[in-house]
Amino acid sequence: MKHVSEKDINEEIKWAQINTDILQSLQNPRKAYWVAVAVCIAMLACAVVAEVYQYQNGLGVADLNRPHMWGLYIATFIFWIGMSHSGTLLSAILHIVHADWRKPIYRFAEAMTTFSLMTAGFFPMIHLGRMWNLYWVIPYVTDRGIWPNFRSPLVWDAFAITTYLTSSAVFLFIGMIPDLAICRDNSTGWRKKLYSVLSLGWQGTDRQWRNFRKTYMLMACFLIPLAVSVHSIVSSDFAMSIMPGWHVTSFPPYFVAGALYSGCASIITLFIILRYFFRWEEYMTMAIHEKICKLTFAIAMVWTYLNLVEFGATWYGHDPVAKEVLISKFVGPFAPFFWAMLFFGSVLPFALAFEKSRRNLPWMFVVSLLLNVGMWLERWMIVGPTLSHAYGPESWNFLWPSIVQWAIVFGSFGWFGLLFLIFVKVVPAVSMYEVKEMVFHRRREANPELAAQFHRRITDAQSVTAKPGIEGA
């Protein structure tokens, strides 16, 4: 089939149709849904058990050691933070550049942002030796006269993540209000009550729309620099240290690229899932799929490039220690994971470059998952090897994470999945009103003669009024 003629969306589609199609995703779930929920809860349970065990016995059970003070927790933390960037990319950046094909898919991407942040937030706590004292990181007035250390990148993290979580959650909510109103109008019982509260009595009056548009644009403008700053700050956890392989200038862009990369990959995953289960072929069309894939591919190449930059800088720079770390990544104990990361991160994306494989959704599903595996490995490869091969030869060591670490990492996916499952059943995962806008404007563009005719009628109407004498008659 030729896809060039293919449209992002069929603009002839009726608005009422849109409502019904989207709202059917809120109907009572099928069995498969409950199975999925059960699985997620089971995964989460593993993490909870592991965490309780660790809480009681100390971090020794995680097989952390000297010098491996950081392990999978921090790696996974970065992974989830990274995942969160895709939502911002789609809803904010593409909104500002008026790429309207984002409209059918940005909603769940944004939800993903919020939820992955909610997941990421757990890891710094889990990783703390005394998490019950976590609140000491918050600057609050006390007669003890002590404050957090604002120099520490970890405190920056705390600030950045709080800000990002707040902003993205608010952004998500604001964007949902009109749809929530629709839900309110079409629901009964507890859902009616819920939506009436959530939709804040939205009626779609021009006043509301006017402020809405402005607000939405402003928020988008805030979110873009915020998202960038968040991951640069996370990267500064490493770049600000003096450890070989961490003390790298190119880390901030490298992290941001990686973040967008993993985010897009997971958008593809969810895109395919939603499209399949809710039969939203009408809205999540192949054309849009194509676009995301291309976008992902582009970002993958950026990421690869930054990787090479980092290697080159280290290799040609005169820091033998950093060089050793680099070499240890290639030939050392981490080599298998490192090569896997390079393959998934830089080679596999070429599957997105070719139309044939791009259009094969099951295959794309697998690929997108593997890309995420690659990105997770990337984070581990940032944390691990440097700690293994730092300055003091005495402390060279290797860490294989214990079952506890694995369980908690595993469980975090369950937690994320659970949140997402609840989300798709409670609010429409596709923005109805924006799809309507999309359709509306597309139709205009699609048949110009209609628009011309309409324009003629307006001018007529106004010319009529040009005749004098009617006023006040």
Partner: protein
């Protein structure tokens, strides 16, 4: 009994007809009814109509600016004073109020307060919080129809309805205010 007042809501299925109706009102087809009284309800936002309706104010950006400024000043002052008052930290030849890290944090505060102010001002200005809602409302607006709301008196009541009908209004809901 000319003091009888009505509020009517005309629901148009077709955006263009609604548009023309408003245009007519603007052109004073119905004397005594000003386009400024027209209020719209629509499933999506219609910039074109707003052109016709004329510039109506949206003050959100001002609040955003305020929020951002507050974020910067409060953020930096808070950090700086906390550091200057943290009696243990500043030793060992390091600056008490280190600019680089404070810039980072101030930046975050800027955004945080910018966002918060924006959202709150939006909720208030758009009448979602505290604002009074339209009494006449139809679910149809949520689907695909455009509603035009007008307050009318004896004289303008009929002609307006006529105007609406002329523009193929689907349905007219009305209520009597006093």
């Amino acid at each position: 009994m000319s003091n009888k007042k009505y509020r009517i809501l005309g629901l148009f299925s077709d955006f263009e007809e609604a548009f023309l109706a408003i245009t007519d009102i603007k052109m004073n087809k119905v004397p005594g009814v000003s386009v400024d009284d027209v209020r719209l309800m629509s499933p999506i936002e219609h910039p074109e109509i707003e052109e016709i309706l004329g510039e109506r104010p949206a003050h959100v950006p001002k609040f955003t600016l305020a929020g951002a400024c507050f974020g910067i000043t409060f953020g930096f002052l808070f950090l700086a004073s906390a550091q200057a008052n943290f009696l243990v930290q500043p030793q060992g030849g390091k600056p008490v109020v280190p600019l680089p890290s404070n810039i980072v944090l101030t930046y975050e505060m800027l955004i945080l307060f910018g966002v918060i102010f924006t959202v709150i001002s939006f909720l208030i200005l758009s009448g979602l919080i505290g604002g009074k809602k339209e009494r006449l409302y139809s679910e149809k607006v949520g689907v695909d129809q455009i509603g035009v709301i007008l307050e009318l008196d004896e004289n303008t009541y009929e002609p307006t309805k006529a105007l609406f009908k002329q523009h193929k209004v689907l349905e007219i809901r009305e209520e009597v205010i006093k």
